[in-house]
């Protein structure tokens, strides 16, 4: 099966996020009030040919930890967004 997987990469708790902070500071000027804790991150979408959902997520997690994220400053989580017959 072809599993559609999304990997979210976000900065770890306590790591400075100048991008999120800058976006947050810009919001009031645009009329968006009451928005706090803005965090910037990355999202990757991919298709993984695997025998099961568990295998697809396991492989996505492995490649996310090896390449897509830097474990020193980032966390990565993989989630399923769809299944297609391959």
């Amino acid at each position: 099966m072809n599993y559609s997987v999304i990997v979210d990469v976000s900065l770890r708790q306590g790591i400075a996020d100048p991008e999120g902070a800058t976006i947050e500071r810009a919001l009031p000027a645009l009329g968006f009030y009451g928005v706090t804790d803005v965090k910037a991150g990355k999202s990757f979408r991919m298709m993984i040919d695997a025998d099961s959902e568990a295998e697809a997520l396991e492989r996505a997690t492995a490649l996310a930890e090896r390449l897509l994220s830097n474990p020193v400053i980032e966390d990565a989580t993989a989630r399923l967004s769809g299944v297609h017959a391959s």
Partner: protein, 225 residues
């Protein structure tokens, strides 16, 4: 004559500056393409500045998987002198040869300016001939230069004299004003400033010379490790 390999990734852009600086100091520099897997015959290795693999994903994230990096790891483990300048520093942290990570600058500004550095340790191949507390004017040129690490790593760097250069006036939000660090043995050093661009007073400063001279004497010293 000391033979220095300057690694060139697709997107490196300071390799000629680095090679020219080595030449000025009497060494022979050769450009080494990133697909090379054998660094035999070199006395020292430089990973120059630039945008290896376009800096896609994260600076250094893809370069770390270039074939040459396995050879750089072996060279470093054997005690060889390895210097990562700017993007080269980012590659060394991604490759795990140096701890921590380089994040986007505080203020999200690309910084291109002279900075004053303070020599905080002589226990590295880059600073062995510099004087402790010596101030050096050397330019920076980066967007992701804020050095970041966890508390345990920072304490370890401090305790073992591995922070070799700090900024006098922190420009980018680096933890502990860190501009450059060394590995435990002191033979692998990474720094964000560009000593190869501070080789002549005609171009603003020649303070990079003392650092790169140290680096060139290192191959002999590292044999004694």
């Amino acid at each position: 004559m000391t033979r220095v390999g300057v690694v060139v990734f697709p997107g490196s852009n300071c390799e000629y500056d680095a090679a020219s600086a080595m030449g000025m100091l009497g060494a022979t520099a050769e450009l080494v393409w990133h697909s090379t897997t054998d660094l035999t015959g070199y006395d020292a290795i430089i990973l120059p500045g630039g945008f290896a693999h376009g800096d896609y994903l994260r600076p250094g994230a893809l370069a770390r998987f270039s074939p040459v990096m396995e050879a750089v790891g072996r060279f470093a483990n054997d005690g060889g002198a390895v210097l990562g300048i700017c993007n080269g520093f980012q590659v060394l942290t991604e490759a795990g040869l140096l701890p921590g990570a380089l994040q986007k600058n505080r203020g999200l500004t690309f910084l291109c300016q002279p900075t004053t550095l303070i020599v905080t340790s002589q226990a590295s191949v880059l600073t062995s001939q510099a004087t402790l507390d010596q101030e050096l004017v050397i330019p920076i040129n980066h967007f992701s230069g804020a050095y970041t690490c966890d508390d345990a790593t920072y304490d370890e760097l401090v305790a073992n004299d591995r922070i070799v250069l700090t900024y006098k006036d922190n420009p980018n939000g680096s933890r502990g004003d860190i501009a450059g660090i060394a590995n435990e043995r002191g033979n692998v050093v990474g720094l964000m400033p560009h000593p190869e661009r501070a080789m002549s007073t005609l171009l603003g400063s020649d303070d990079g010379q003392v650092l790169l001279k140290s680096f060139l004497t290192a191959p002999v010293a590292s044999l004694a490790l």
